[in-house]
């Protein structure tokens, strides 16, 4: 319901950021009042070109929130329209205005729903309160982007980030990338869901999962919101195991709902939980990672590795990725676009592997055609699991554009 601007609850508030080094964002201060209409002052880096448009958008957003009387002061650093709406809405909400009303930006067409077993080699983390990274993220070609509401967002910014991420899901075209959101731990995570699920993200990352109940709670809430809003496309789950207990419960977690598409691991928190240092060769987490891979495979879902934190060390990333693929992982997280091509290379099967797999698949198809029960390649008999592995590898290679 729209608020009635009563001075008893409304108070001055602000949201967003400005300053010399801030880009594509704005800072909004709002001072509710009882009469006098909306009084907007604007200072903008792009005032000559978009000053009029910013003021009229501000008015529109506030009107849609039912705010009739307030002084608003804006310092704009070139924020795009979906960011402007989010910042104004966040300031208004913090001021105790707007009630449950939302001011939703224009919606771009949603891409195709994603499948449970799609390619998830790379997922690019985007801090949920840093709008400058959103608009071009998909250009760098990750398999997924993650709008992060958890660790990269300061505690005091959670409410504003939630609104910004919601608007981003609506208004930013992420092309062929899977649109993921990392929510906070419950109970805050449930508030995150209420804000973002209506915008049909493709996948929700659930942090610090230790017990299956944490996942089923999220799963139930998503189901409720989906049926309320008549969302039919799938919204997958990817629990992040970040503690010794989480690893111990990996299989139970992986099987708690069929909506889980993958398990992943958070190595910073995991090594902290163990009280050991995180090293470049990762010996300290080998057990956890192989255990997670095993649980995921047993559950018939993907195993996805953690992030590699040193953005400058692309050779180290490559080694880590290759090792990770050898252990059975199918992808990892990225914190900078420059990591994407390296990860894609590391998780790609080699040309020799592809060729061998193609031969096996061809032999299998030939045997099928000729009605033979036994597949052979040259003088060697090929067992069914080898055929299955070869088919999976060929399918992946095709999806990566590495095979015809």
């Amino acid at each position: 319901m729209s608020s009635d601007n009563t001075a008893t609850t409304a108070h001055p508030a602000e949201a967003g950021h400005h300053g010399k080094d801030v880009r594509s964002d704005m800072h909004v201060s709002i001072e509710p009042r009882d009469s006098g209409g909306l009084e907007i002052t604007l200072e903008s880096r792009v005032g000559t070109y978009y000053g009029g448009s910013i003021v009229s958008q501000t008015r529109q957003v506030l009107e849609s929130l039912g705010v009739k009387h307030a002084r608003i002061s804006i310092h704009d650093e070139g924020a795009l329209p979906f960011v402007i709406s989010a910042r104004i809405e966040a300031a208004a909400k913090r001021a105790g205005l707007g009630g449950d009303q939302k001011s939703l930006p224009e919606k771009v067409a949603l891409s195709e729903p994603t499948t449970r077993d799609r390619l998830r080699r790379s997922r690019l983390y985007l801090p949920g309160s840093e709008p400058k990274y959103f608009i071009n993220a998909a250009l760098h070609g990750p398999d997924a982007i993650i709008l992060d509401l958890e660790d990269s967002v300061h505690h005091a910014e959670k409410d504003a980030a939630r609104i910004l991420v919601r608007n981003t899901l609506r208004a930013v075209d992420f092309g062929g990338c899977e649109r993921m959101v990392r929510i906070n731990q419950s109970p805050m995570g449930l508030q995150d869901l209420a804000e973002v699920i209506p915008e049909a993200p493709d996948l929700i990352l659930i942090p610090k999962v230790e017990r299956p109940e944490q996942v089923s709670q999220v799963d139930r809430m998503i189901d409720e919101l989906k049926s309320r809003d008549r969302i039919e496309r799938p919204i997958w789950l990817m629990p992040i195991l970040e503690s010794a207990l989480g690893i111990e419960n990996a299989f139970a977690i992986a099987t708690v709902t069929p909506n889980i598409a993958a398990l992943t691991i958070g190595l910073e928190d995991y090594t902290a939980d163990l009280g050991v240092a995180k090293t470049l060769d990762g010996r300290e987490s080998e057990y956890a990672r192989t255990r997670l891979v095993n649980a995921a495979k047993a559950a018939g879902i993907q195993a996805i590795d953690s992030v590699f934190g040193d953005v400058g060390d692309l050779a180290g990333l490559r080694r880590w990725g290759e090792m990770s693929r050898a252990l059975g992982f199918e992808g990892m997280g990225c914190i900078h676009p420059s990591q994407i091509p390296v990860i894609h290379e590391a998780f790609a099967p080699s040309q020799a592997e592809i060729e061998k797999a193609l031969k096996i698949v061809a032999a299998f198809e030939e045997a099928q055609e000729r009605g033979l029960a036994v597949v052979s390649l040259g003088s060697k008999m090929i067992d069914p699991p080898v055929v299955e592995r070869a088919r999976k590898l060929v399918a992946r290679a095709k999806a990566m554009g590495k095979a015809q």
Partner: protein
């Protein structure tokens, strides 16, 4: 303020003044259309009898040198920007002129820098009447606010040489900052504590000015080797403690951009050259020292190695990245117009394959040819480009002066001219309907590379054919523009420009390409 300024429309459809600072002007007639006849200008005859036989032309200080040169009210005094933002000599010269008590000078720098903002005080006190040369920062604002008495004239590096040769600008006194010099006036930029690389920007002044003063902080016994400036053209030599701030003359290290979007632009440019077949054995290219250009060189270097391709020459602004190409045998020569970092300075001072050039060899329209048109590809920046590929490099989209033209206009003569740009900056789209200030005609701009795609000028069917079937995102320029306007929330409003000209943009041949208007 009260003078009436007549305007004419040039061949590009732009309104330009018919008179600038008392000189009649020719509006731009089209690329290659203006060919003046007659003879080039020449310096006055001098006799070696008037110069000391022992070759020692030193005088005590700049004030004495300027007095001896006969500096008077209304004369033209020139400086150069090879020391970039670290230069101290230009202000020293202008302040010495102020001490002598002369007024109404025309200051003719090859470019001005923010550290020279004290020139504003000298304009207010009447020592300087106006500036003909690039202006940005505070000097640019002073000009666009209409506070300068004369009109600003922006010329390319080649255009400055042409204006001197045509006699359009007669330099009375040239003051040349020299990182190394001897008492005879031979001067070199590649050695000394203030080393900057090439002194090419000062070469025309040394040959055509009535009087030439060399100012150095590293006097060596005759002969100063190499002599980029010949002492035979020099009247006086002044020794000072410091000609500039070394930290601002060259950067210690030039940095490749870290922005993933800009890296993507750089990679697209390199891939374009490779896939269009321009990157082949014996080819040549030029790229500046901006973040995108540096990253481009780094990507191209990897591709050249992969393909086993070597360039015959590359053109600087040299940086560590070009020097690496030379050292790795990926180019036979660097032909260097200016030197941006310490690696560049060290290389030009020690490697005979790293050669200093001047605007005469590189850019001059009235030479018997120049290098610019022999370069296979050039990678440039711009503030704005329009749907007809016309580009602006001198003003912000709101009409404030941003940059000089530098060699930018001259480089458009290359075989393939590429603008490498982000598709929008701070919500401001870079591709627009019509540029605020025309600096380069679209018929000379072949490719616009942005992070969202590559637009090829439809006039270059050969390039379109060359990359047909490539995986590069080749798109019509209108298409990229429409996408960016969707992202930015519509077309930007056009800035309101005033109706009083405060500066003009010259084309390489000396005709008037466009006008900078006073800001309201």
């Amino acid at each position: 303020m009260t003078e009436r300024i007549e305007l004419a429309q040039n061949a590009a459809g732009r309104s330009v003044p018919t008179m600038v600072n008392g000189r009649p002007q020719i509006p731009f007639l089209g690329v290659g259309q203006y060919q003046p006849r007659g003879r080039k200008t020449a310096p006055p005859i001098c006799s070696s009898k008037d110069y000391p036989e022992n070759g020692d032309k030193r005088v005590a200080n700049l004030e004495t040198a300027l007095r001896n040169c006969g500096l008077r009210n209304g004369m033209v005094i020139s400086n150069h920007h090879h020391l970039r933002d670290g230069d101290r000599v230009a202000l020293m010269a202008l302040e010495a002129a102020a001490k002598i008590g002369v007024k109404d000078l025309m200051w003719f720098p090859s470019a001005s820098f923010p550290s020279q903002k004290a020139a504003i005080d000298l304009m207010q006190s009447g020592v300087i009447h106006h500036i003909e040369g690039s202006m940005n920062g505070p000097l640019g604002d002073y000009c666009t606010q209409g506070k300068m008495r004369g009109m600003g004239v922006l010329r390319s590096h080649g255009g400055r040489w042409q204006a001197i040769q045509d006699g359009e600008v007669h330099i009375d006194v040239a003051v040349i900052a020299a990182p190394t010099a001897d008492a005879f006036g031979n001067a070199d930029g590649s050695h000394g504590k203030s080393a900057c690389g090439s002194l090419g920007f000062a070469l025309a002044d040394s040959m055509y000015a009535d009087r030439v003063i060399v100012v150095t902080d590293n006097l060596v016994p005759f002969p100063c080797i190499p002599w980029q400036i010949q002492g035979n053209n020099v009247d006086y030599v002044v020794e000072v403690d410091s000609i500039g701030d070394p930290a601002k003359i060259v950067s210690g290290t030039t940095q490749i951009t870290r922005s993933p979007d800009r890296l993507r632009v750089a990679e697209f440019v390199a891939r374009f050259l490779r896939e269009a077949g321009i990157m082949r054995n014996g080819f040549s290219f030029q790229a500046g020292a901006g973040g995108i250009a540096l990253a481009f060189v780094d990507y191209l270097r990897r591709m050249m190695k992969e393909d086993g391709v070597k360039a015959r020459f590359v053109r600087g602004g040299s940086t560590k990245y070009l020097v690496e190409l030379l050292q790795e045998g990926l180019t036979d020569y660097i032909l260097d117009g200016q030197t941006f970092d310490l690696d560049g300075v060290k290389s030009i001072g020690s490697d005979p394959r790293h050669v200093a050039t001047s605007p005469f060899t590189s850019y001059n329209y009235h030479g018997k040819g120049n290098f610019a048109s022999m370069v296979d590809a050039v990678v440039l920046g711009a503030t704005e480009v329009d749907v007809n590929f016309n580009a602006n490099v001198v003003t912000h989209s709101d009409g404030r002066l941003l940059h000089g033209i530098g060699g930018w206009q001259n480089c458009l003569a290359a075989g393939c001219t590429i603008l490498a740009l982000p598709s929008f900056r701070d919500r401001i789209p870079v591709i627009i309907d019509e540029v605020t200030t025309l600096t380069g005609p679209g018929e000379l701009i072949d490719v616009v590379v942005t992070e969202r795609g590559i637009a090829i000028n439809p006039r270059r069917q050969d390039l379109l054919d060359a990359v047909k079937g490539s995986s590069l995102p080749i798109r019509p320029i209108q298409d990229i523009k429409a996408e960016v306007e969707r992202i930015c929330g519509g077309k930007p409003a056009r800035p309101k420009l005033g109706d009083r000209p405060v500066a003009v943009v010259k084309w390489v041949d000396g005709t008037l390409l466009d006008t900078i208007w006073q800001l309201s």
